[in-house]
Symmetry: C2
Subunit: 348 residues, 2 copies
Amino acid sequence: MAEVRGSLSARGEHAFLDALCERLAERRRSSGAGSGLLVGPGDDAAVVETGGRPLAITTDALVERVHFRPGWLAPAELGVRAIAVALSDLAATGATPRWTLVSAIVPPDRPTSELDRILEACAAASEESGAAMIGGNLSRGDALSLTVTAIGEMEGPTLERRGARPGDRLVVTGTLGAAAAAVDVWLDGGEPPPALRERFARPVARLAAGRALAAAGATAAIDVSDGLLADLGHLCRASGVGAEVERARLPRLVQVAIRDASGSDFAATGGEDYELLAALPPGIDDDAITALARACDVELTVIGRCTAPGTGIRLLGEDGRDRATARRGFDHFADGESPGPRGRRVPD
Amino acid sequence: MAEVRGSLSARGEHAFLDALCERLAERRRSSGAGSGLLVGPGDDAAVVETGGRPLAITTDALVERVHFRPGWLAPAELGVRAIAVALSDLAATGATPRWTLVSAIVPPDRPTSELDRILEACAAASEESGAAMIGGNLSRGDALSLTVTAIGEMEGPTLERRGARPGDRLVVTGTLGAAAAAVDVWLDGGEPPPALRERFARPVARLAAGRALAAAGATAAIDVSDGLLADLGHLCRASGVGAEVERARLPRLVQVAIRDASGSDFAATGGEDYELLAALPPGIDDDAITALARACDVELTVIGRCTAPGTGIRLLGEDGRDRATARRGFDHFADGESPGPRGRRVPD
């Protein structure tokens, strides 16, 4: 059980979490705790079995000045986003949400009316997905944060990050990059256009799509929370495959460049939209994908395919050659010293 | 759906949560979400039914500079305490812990070795109770906090706060007040004696006692997190009864006065030990209580009894007359303006 060295600001969150998950797996093997665990930590949600029924469980936090800045979102939007972010993890497993719990840490000088609106919105957003908000916790603290636990029942097959095979096609739901573009506009001191802002303020967890993809035989899935390329990396690593993605196929709302980044840069690296990325076996043809999209009322776009193990992740330009992207994915603990992630910590 | 006025620092957390719980119940009634909910928000844990089996679910947060101050606890103790605090809610329902999830918010300048020790301790403390740590979340933020979600299976009857009847006897597990006394010593600039410090640093969730009390026919239970009198108030309000407690019977470790408070003041108002308070019907006599205590290897002390509705909560001195206490229970949002709770916010 090696101890990880260094401070969290100087190394990647994901490397830390990978090491932690391995140690947790070791612990479970040696202690025997965790019987009934079908999908362990490290995936979008854990899946456990109780009473013969699989349950998907996830927890996710929204922290002021890390994930959003005061003034960006109305209190109700904060609640909606906090719930959607957690439900999106359930969507990636194909679960049906049943219950949510919200733990709020709130500075004592905030008016109760603000907390009321946040929690009302959490309850309403939970209900919209068919879940009930059944509990939570309230603490005061220096910075506002909302930690949402979401629990769903598996009524069909369970999707994990692992399972994709070379030759599988990669599909994403909806469009990518608009929410991340909104953040960049805010960080630049501007006010994002409503269509972009809405994608950050009110993301929609792709629950029906997750279930439909699972039922159709998807081999793996993940929600795009860190950025398409980053999350594709997680899926490929878990599945032991490579991948190539065609930049021109990335579905996007943003058509113009913002700061140094093009619309497809945002689509390739912006994770804030909480769309799903899934791998579909080659037997599921274009017609089947179109039917699937229609059935769950969401755009589904084939953006590339899984390749042989060891081939890495390639983003292909329109000429079919590798192209770099001007933006990187999200790492909560990244800072200037970290070479990889772009380190979007919202400045105070 | 009345909106609560005022800021969180000027009014009680419990009044706010009561109002919220009522609104959540209204929402569930009108939306139909929340089928399978056996015990709703407002109790120590929510209890839901899935696959024919009841599950108890709770979430609780430990926030630096609110619940503890830097330097009080070693990283491993933080993990132990965070898990115990959540498991204690399960204990109060009579559940058997199965899974935990830990959402950590960590300042980016903290060494990863510290986070490692915290999370390792969370995993180890979970396993000691028979639960596996199956997931979590990692975010950075300005203040360290740990939000633990704990899920347990109900293998016997479910205990709630409501259900106590006039004439029921009130019992508590273990001893009361030592952890709160440790906090007062710390706040006074001292270092608490090891026996007191240990009760704050390593509370033990009374899981076996919770199950044994439920199986024996306890009519209601709550964990003593806010302070005995405060939590007895919650139990009495939920049950619609009054109560009287004999000060001389309160089991305590602290025998000397600390600052202005006597040992029994700490026992009456210190909730940091996470003991259980339960109501037992009169048919369970002293011998049965002794046998129960032996079976689950914990002290059980009869401290008083439930009285008729509307009689309030009375703390009786040794002469049988009401006596005030020099200390009050814990309210996270209390401040100097608040007349009720003592407002122990740990100063920066």
